[in-house]
């Protein structure tokens, strides 16, 4: 398949974009990566994602697909040779999807807040995240059934949804000095994180934590400089 048949609009710091890239790698799909500067947003981005104007956008032929979880499922269904990303059993699929919703709607928004609130406001957020991570540790036990990933032997949907946020999770830990993944409390997830980052589909495209940290600092500085929006 021609490389320019598949394009991915993205930006290197985005964990959502990373999800799409990992999925494409799992399926050995060749694609053209178009780095978006986001300020200003390109014509292509505005045209292909008029609803949200956000990355990632996967463009397959002339068809745009938006929203990272939708993109990952699309990749799984459009390229059927190569390993499956969603599990085959409907019950397992529902479990992966349930936790994926939990992560994107509950856990990650709280983690992101941690990066922007004042130090004294962090404790209640950390408590929420700690409770959540215990649930995820339990979920991992049930989903993995003793294997390396939520998806079993290989990376699956929930691995991608969760794993692609590991860089930002580590940035949160560095900025706050508080541990989210902990040998004592979440030993399985600590091991899983290592396995995920070392996987061939992930290694080489997962941004380095130091680079993300620098990016976060630049963003925070810009936010402080910018006049308050009314």
């Amino acid at each position: 398949m021609a490389k320019n048949d598949v394009k991915l609009l993205g930006a290197w710091p985005s964990p959502y974009v990373l999800r799409a890239r990992v999925a494409l790698n799992i399926k050995s799909v060749k694609y053209e990566f178009l780095e978006e500067t986001m300020a200003p947003k390109s014509e292509l981005l505005l045209q292909s994602n008029p609803v949200y104007k956000k990355i990632p956008v996967l463009i397959h032929g002339d068809k745009p697909i938006c929203e990272s979880q939708v993109i990952v499922q699309y990749i799984d269904e459009a390229w059927t040779s190569g390993p499956s990303i969603l599990p085959s059993d409907p019950c397992d699929r529902a479990i992966h999807r349930f936790w994926a919703v939990y992560l994107d709607e509950t856990w990650f928004p709280t983690m992101k807040s941690l990066l922007v609130v004042q130090a004294e406001e962090r404790k209640p957020l950390m408590d929420q995240l700690s409770e959540g991570i215990v649930l995820l540790e339990e979920a991992f036990g049930k989903c993995s059934k003793g294997k390396a990933f939520f998806g079993g032997d290989g990376i699956g949907f929930l691995d991608i949804v969760f794993g692609c946020f590991l860089g930002w999770l580590r940035v949160s830990e560095k900025i706050t000095g508080l541990k989210l993944l902990d040998e004592a409390k979440t030993p399985k997830l600590v091991k899983w994180a290592e396995s995920f980052c070392a996987d061939a589909a992930v290694k080489g495209i997962m941004p380095e934590t130091d680079k993300l940290l620098e990016f976060a600092r630049v963003l925070a500085a810009k936010r402080r400089e910018a006049p308050p929006k009314n």
Binding site: Y74, R97, L135
Partner: protein
Amino acid sequence: MAEEILLFGAWGSPFSRRVEMALKLKGIEYKYIEEDITNKSPSLLKYNPVHKKIPVLVHNGKPVAESLVILEYIDETWKDSPILSKDPYERANARFWAKFIDEKCLSAIFKACWGEEKEHEKAVEEASELLQFLENELKEKRYFGGETVGLLDIAANIIGYWLGVFEEASGAELLTREKFPKLCNWANEFVSVSAIKENLPPRDKLIAYLRNRFGVGTTSK
């Protein structure tokens, strides 16, 4: 093996009704348990400990939560009368718009109906922009799913029925025939489908509940 299908729901909830609509479309028998969300049952807390919310589908003892996740589970488990296309792009499209409805539309509609008065005009404008996306997505199709009701139609039950009820309860005007002719036609078609019609909460009861809970709205007629 005898199948046991339980659904924990709430009569007025569009999320809960989505699941009933899908089960009905596929001719699946189930046992319905009405939950009082002010006094949640131990079963609900057991089956959805993370969110403690309805709907929860319990299939042979295994719980599934989150209405859109449940819809996909139903479609994958009972293959008759599919609600999702086999085509990956069409599936992606349905999922995208279903998420759009839940993430953006509901809160915007709510704000337009029961938000602060000084924000009312802006709220109506924002909700209208979102409805316009759905109007455009419908194109010339009878249903979002094409010739038959699909996952996106079911997810859009909020637009197809609840929106009209919100409008009547609050006095707000959003889904006008003038601005959204296709969506209005679709809404009529949608609520006429028997599997859907049988699963709509009674209008008067819902209006009374909404007014009681949220007040009479920013624009009283």
